[in-house]
């Protein structure tokens, strides 16, 4: 990883420039923990989530078996209720709950006026935490404050735990309880490269590549739109599949496809038409792109794929999150299923409608509402 070749006696300084050892930005990115530890193929990511879920499921099922073995006097109706209600959550349900709370971190960080990068890192920490832990092992409710507090420290935006806890309406020990577990689950890697920095870079570069062809006020609007799109993208799995500038280009494509295509054409000599231009695109570099050997058509394919993923906004409705939370509760506390059954029987006799999903006492009733958009 040494760019500068060892100077040797009498060598001309220009010889250094010819050295093939030049370290590119891509090389540096490939050495980052974000790439080494936190980049996956879709298959790897699916498998990882399945493993976490399987581990938690096995434990819950074991507990349920033990419960049945120690409660031999259960009636057929009670057993059926447990069979129906006390069921471990699925991988999809886990993901839904994580996404719900990840979005809550964003709105919470907004209320606390925290910098964009702090919020983004907190979301990243939180989502990574649940790539090693199941929501039925450690509740997201216990971790999301920790993720935000730890992100403040990691992003150099220190807030004392007392004042943080006060703003978060919780207590310091709750904030700190899972800090170590979080650090460990993060594999002790804390650096996050977010697409916002790349956005700033492209914003400047578009202005220079398309100088005189774009309106500055309009560019400001594109920038603001993109920032929002990027924030939404942080809740998708695109962050595990693509590099930050790829996500930024995808966001730009969503914000203004024509502008972005014009920029990419000028920059990398690529066109909408596709494969026919492929060989040309790689050889003919525009003036700006001369020093960059990026196969343009390949790049366009990648950012279009990425665009597909980040176009699907992740914002599970609150009702769904409440349902999953209830399910976790029942699967961990089969006794409460029996209590519920008892209550139902009693209310049946007083004429209430049976069969509605009740919300357990510890549910999300006080949680702020999300913006309500569904997938």
């Amino acid at each position: 990883m040494t760019t500068t070749p060892k100077p040797s006696n009498g060598a001309d300084a220009k010889a250094k420039e010819q050295g093939s050892l030049r370290v590119t930005d891509d090389d540096l990115y490939r050495h980052s923990s974000q790439y080494r530890v936190w980049s996956f193929t879709p298959e790897q990511l699916t498998q990882r989530r399945a493993e976490v879920n399987a581990r938690a499921t096995a434990k819950i099922e074991q507990n349920l078996r033990a419960f049945r073995e120690t409660h031999l006097a259960l009636t057929a109706e009670e057993l059926a209720a447990i069979e129906e209600k006390a069921v471990p959550v699925s991988t999809e349900e886990e993901l839904l709950l994580v996404s719900y709370f990840a979005r809550m971190i964003l709105s919470f960080a907004g209320k606390m006026n925290l910098p964009t990068e702090v919020a983004a890192t907190a979301v990243s920490f939180f989502r990574k935490f649940y790539l090693s832990n199941s929501v039925s092992e450690i509740s997201p409710k216990e971790v999301f404050h920790t993720a935000l507090f730890f992100s403040c420290k990691s992003e150099n935006y220190f807030i004392g735990v007392e004042s943080f806890a006060k703003k978060a309406k919780t207590n310091p020990s709750a904030v700190l309880k899972h800090e170590f577990k979080l650090l460990e689950s993060l594999n002790f890697t804390l650096m996050n490269h977010h697409p916002y920095k790349a956005l700033h870079g492209f914003f400047l570069d578009i202005q220079s590549v398309l100088a005189g062809k774009v309106d500055m006020n309009y560019m400001g609007q594109v920038y603001t739109d993109c920032k929002k799109i990027i924030t939404d993208a942080l809740l998708t799995d695109a962050v595990y599949f693509y590099s930050p500038p790829q996500i930024t280009l995808a966001a730009l494509l969503i914000a203004d496809e024509a502008l972005t295509m014009r920029y990419l054409q000028m920059k990398f000599m690529i066109t909408e038409e596709g494969p026919t231009e492929n060989s040309q695109g790689e050889k003919q570099d525009s003036k700006e792109g001369a020093s960059i050997s990026i196969p343009g058509q390949k790049l366009l394919e990648i950012i279009k794929e990425c665009k597909e993923i980040i176009s699907n906004k992740v914002a599970p409705p609150k009702e769904d999150a409440v349902k999953v939370t209830a399910k976790i509760h029942y699967s961990q506390n089969p006794l409460t299923v029996l209590d519920r059954l008892k209550r139902q029987r009693e209310s049946n006799s007083t004429g209430a409608t049976p069969g509605q999903t009740p919300i357990p006492e510890d549910s999300q009733t006080k949680r702020p509402k999300t913006d309500g958009a569904t997938n």
């Binding site: 990883m1 100077p7 540096l28 923990s33 730890f150 650090l183 804390l190 650096m191």
Partner: protein, 308 residues
């Protein structure tokens, strides 16, 4: 990363405010390591910021001139950083009057320092505490940047940074003026001062306190004017300071007797008052000083501390 059974702690070698350092062994390879055990009790805000920074930045850097973070693990709710074992530092070498070193040795240490700093900066990381004491020396002679407890990402232009960084003698003028925005140029200043110290074998700008540091710095290098540093008058304290003329080339030659003209150019480039004009690592590394004779000493042949 691996569990605690893999590492043994053999001897306590140091204790700081937030960590205890042990010499130990990595069992599987029998490699000698340093284990920094981060104290966790008694910190009301949870894990200490310095520890977080050290873990965060060292995880991102693999370079021969940056200390290697071999592993991290938790044990008894303590955080343990397993680092490369580096028995000496440049300050020990400078202070040990029994050790003689040559211009070629100085060139070698400076080259390795600049490579390490270049690697930090191209990863957008500021070290913010470069000094001989934080430049550690491996048994094979390689020099390694260490102690990233004050490091941070290079800020966005609108970020406010604290000027209370870098050990006093190695603090750049913009920091002495309390700048809230600064760049990698602060690290380059520190390297310039270290270069001077290697040639003089005594600290170059040893201010007694923060006020004195300003005086010592400008007495040696001249008080900057708004002609060479236009933004200077925006610093509140600027008008209160004593004016000194910059040293003539002849004065520098007399002070740094053994230095070549290229060496003086390089040192002066790193000690330019205006941070925008101060040389960056690439300018330094491609300077003629590293091309002219003598060649930098091969690391393995550099002077070492005498083993007792």
């Amino acid at each position: 990363m691996i569990s605690q059974a893999e590492y043994s702690k053999e001897k306590k070698v140091g204790e700081g405010t937030y960590a205890v350092v042990y010499v130990g062994t990595k069992q599987s390879s029998n490699r000698k390591v340093a284990i920094k055990e981060i104290k966790t009790s008694g910190f009301k805000d949870g894990l200490d910021m310095s520890a977080i920074r050290e873990v965060k930045y060292l995880q991102e850097m693999q370079h021969i001139n940056v200390i290697e973070l071999i592993d991290v693990y938790m044990a008894q709710s303590n955080l343990n950083l397993v680092l490369e074992f580096l028995p000496a530092d440049l300050e020990m070498i400078i202070k040990d009057t029994a050790i003689l070193f040559t211009q070629a040795d100085i060139k070698s240490w400076l080259l390795m320092t600049l490579r390490g700093v270049h690697h930090c900066h191209r990863n957008f990381i500021l070290h913010r505490d470069l000094k001989p004491n934080n430049l550690l020396l491996a048994p094979d002679g390689q020099l390694k940047l260490a102690d990233f407890g004050l490091a941070r990402n290079m800020g966005s232009p609108q970020d406010f940074l604290t000027s209370n960084v870098v050990t006093r003698w190695y603090r750049a003028p913009e920091l002495l003026f309390g700048a809230r925005h600064y760049t990698g140029a602060i690290d380059m200043w520190s390297v310039g001062v270290i270069f001077a110290e290697l040639m003089l074998r005594i600290p170059y700008l040893p201010g007694k306190d923060d006020i004195d540091q300003i005086d010592v710095t400008f007495r040696a290098l001249g008080t900057p004017t708004d002609k060479d540093w236009p933004e200077i008058s925006t610093f509140g304290t600027y008008n209160k300071i004593q004016f000194y003329p910059p040293p003539s080339r002849e004065e520098l030659r007399r002070r740094f007797i053994a230095a070549t003209e290229n060496a003086l150019d390089l040192m002066s480039g790193m000690l330019i008052m205006n941070p925008h004009k101060r040389w960056d690592p690439i300018q330094c590394l491609t300077n003629q000083y590293f091309v002219e004779l003598p060649e930098p000493t091969t690391p393995a042949d550099l002077p070492q501390l005498n083993k007792k």
